[in-house]
């Protein structure tokens, strides 16, 4: 049976497949344990509080959701912009988009105070809420990308892949706009309340999604003992560099804008300099490890025939780490800073007004949070095994129509 399921590989390597599945499965089991424990005992067991209401699970969840739409970008470049090299990667890109979104949404749902009321969330919509719209966008993403995948993988429906790809492209732009707007629409907190969040999250998604795509692609080629074409590898690492650079640009603009507004000075001083862990995560995690270092690794000239595959993979890994740091600063850092209820005043109360909120994620949050990547991992491992997702480059066609690549 396992031999029959293995249609994508030259040789099946079933034992390795099962080991990978088991590794992911163990983490998912831990996630389910955390979920049922919290369902029974409440969030009192977590480090989350009435001050830090969204914690580590949300860091993983939002990162995966943002990366999901970005992973689809590879397919969009192929189907919407007609680039053959990317078209060959469209099925893998679409599948990753679905598994990443599934992982992210699973964490969001498992962290709800009342996850048993998911059906309520699906049947009661407040259309003024961007969260309600997101439920439609996320479910729609599954449907549209699913249909798009079918058009890519069924020869009879091939002609539909362009319109389906276009619809998926537009949908993913709307989806990430809405994800960024979760934060952009919050007037209460100093670090949010900026329209820039929507386009900034789209740019972040390009970088995170492509980095994950490159890692998965490299793993699949290595699994099958294949070597990625040097030209394709160069093209993708250059594209990642562009996205990382654009992410840095948006980050700089957001903080420069805030630094120009006197009312934001206290917050900026704290998040950039005095906030302890958060400035460290911002500068070291998001900017240096997740931005500048990957840029250097990706853009450094390669000597002779040296392709620098290792450097590219390291850069992609760093972009993902930087992305998690960015989400931690964006989600938890902004909450930790005291809310400006009385600007210009020193404030104190029994409800922790005026003080920086403490947050230390507990074991249940780690288990919930890591469940997202684990679910994505398990679904991806199964996906690449039972479907033909390995990019198959037709170099002859590329040579015939070089301008389309």
């Amino acid at each position: 049976m396992s031999q029959q399921l293995c249609i994508n590989q030259g040789e099946c390597r079933t034992s390795l497949f099962l080991i990978l599945l088991a590794l992911g499965g163990v983490v998912v089991l831990g996630t389910l344990y955390a979920f049922f424990t919290l369902e029974h005992h409440g969030h009192v067991l977590t480090g989350m509080s009435n001050q830090i209401v969204w914690g580590l699970p949300h860091v993983f969840a939002v990162f995966l959701i943002v990366a999901a739409s970005g992973a689809l970008n590879v397919a969009s470049i192929g189907s919407v912009f007609g680039k053959e090299v990317y078209k060959r990667r469209a099925p893998l890109s679409g599948m990753l988009a679905l598994t990443l979104l599934a992982g992210g949404l699973a964490v969001l749902v498992l962290d709800l105070g009342r996850p048993d009321r998911l059906i309520v969330a699906m049947t009661h919509y407040n259309f003024k809420s961007i969260f309600a719209w997101n439920m439609i966008f996320y479910n729609g993403f599954f449907a549209i990308v699913g249909l798009y995948l079918i058009t890519l993988m069924d020869r009879k429906l091939k002609s539909w892949s362009k319109p389906a790809g276009f619809a998926a492209f537009i949908w993913r732009l709307i989806l990430t706009t809405a994800t960024g707007s979760i934060f952009g629409f919050i007037v209460a907190r100093s670090g949010y309340d900026a329209a820039l969040y929507a386009p900034m999250f789209i740019i972040f998604s390009f970088a995170y999604g492509l980095a994950i795509f490159m890692l998965v692609q490299a793993s699949m080629y290595s699994w099958n003992r294949l070597s990625l074409d040097a030209g394709i590898e160069r093209r993708m690492k250059n594209l990642l560099a562009v996205f990382v650079g654009a992410s840095l640009y948006f980050t700089v603009v957001l903080h420069l804008t805030n630094l120009y507004f006197a009312k934001q000075w206290d917050f900026e001083r704290w998040i950039l300099l005095e906030g302890g862990l958060y400035p460290a995560l911002f500068w070291v995690g998001q900017i240096i490890l997740g931005g500048i270092l990957p840029l250097i690794l990706l853009l450094a000239p390669r000597s002779g025939n040296h392709r620098g595959t290792g450097l590219n993979i390291l850069a992609a890994l760093l972009v993902i780490l930087g992305g998690l740091a960015q989400m931690y600063v964006t989600i938890i850092g902004v909450q930790a800073f005291p809310m400006p209820i009385f600007p210009g005043h020193e404030v104190s109360s029994t409800f922790y007004d005026g003080v920086v909120a403490d947050y230390a994620p507990g074991v249940y949050e780690w288990l919930l949070g890591l469940g997202g990547p684990a679910i994505t991992f398990v679904l991806t491992v199964i996906g690449v095994r039972v479907f033909k997702f390995l990019p198959q480059d037709d170099f002859h066609a590329m040579e015939t129509h070089p301008q389309r690549h």
């Binding site: 409440g42 009435n50 809420s129 969260f131 919050i186 209460a188 209820i341 005043h345 029994t350």
Partner: protein, 247 residues
Amino acid sequence: MSRATDNPNSERRDFLKAGAMAAGLTVGPGVLLYGVAYSRAPEEPASPDKRWGMLIDTTKCGDGCNECVTACNTENGLSGKTGPQDSQWIRKVHIRDLQTGFELNLPMLCQHCENPPCVDVCPTGASMKRADGIVLVDRHTCIGCRYCMMACPYKARSFVHEPLTDQNPEVPRGMGCVESCTFCVQRVDRDETPACVEACNAAGHKAMYFGDLKDPESEISQALKIARSTEIRADLGLNTGVRYQGI
């Protein structure tokens, strides 16, 4: 024989008079009270002709006094604990102007905004505003996503982090849901004032007024008319139902 005895109808007349008086004394206050103190029947919707609001005179708010908080906890079945995960529907806040050093105390609670951000962001509509302006959470449709807590500019909401016992049957609460000050809606619907206001008055401070902002004759409307009051974070344009004097 007395005159009364002479008139056989006289005794009956006296009896009727006395009876009418007794009936009047019994029913009359009820009729009068019905007009003055009208409490809403459960099936009757909240009236859009009212907007419940509160005025807090910070100059009268007692330093160190916590009566409003204690009364709220008792009325609504809160534990009164003040850990980071415990619910607090009303809290005393001490503020000091960084420029001038001017200090004051005030109670902070849900501001019952006309345009509440918590209601805007709630995906299921569980956060809602009644027709009479009271902002509530529907315990049956709150999924515990906490987006309203992210959005509330007054940090007025709490998430129930652990199982609850000994609840007040009139104030249902539940683990995994978000909650906040309801203006003691169960009391307001009986035409009583919120517990915090009652406690403040009982303590002799009389710093809190509660009433119908749409009724120009109400005590709160009269008080608002004669002294300047402000909204907290007025820059957000939320038109809060709670206003403060002295800040």
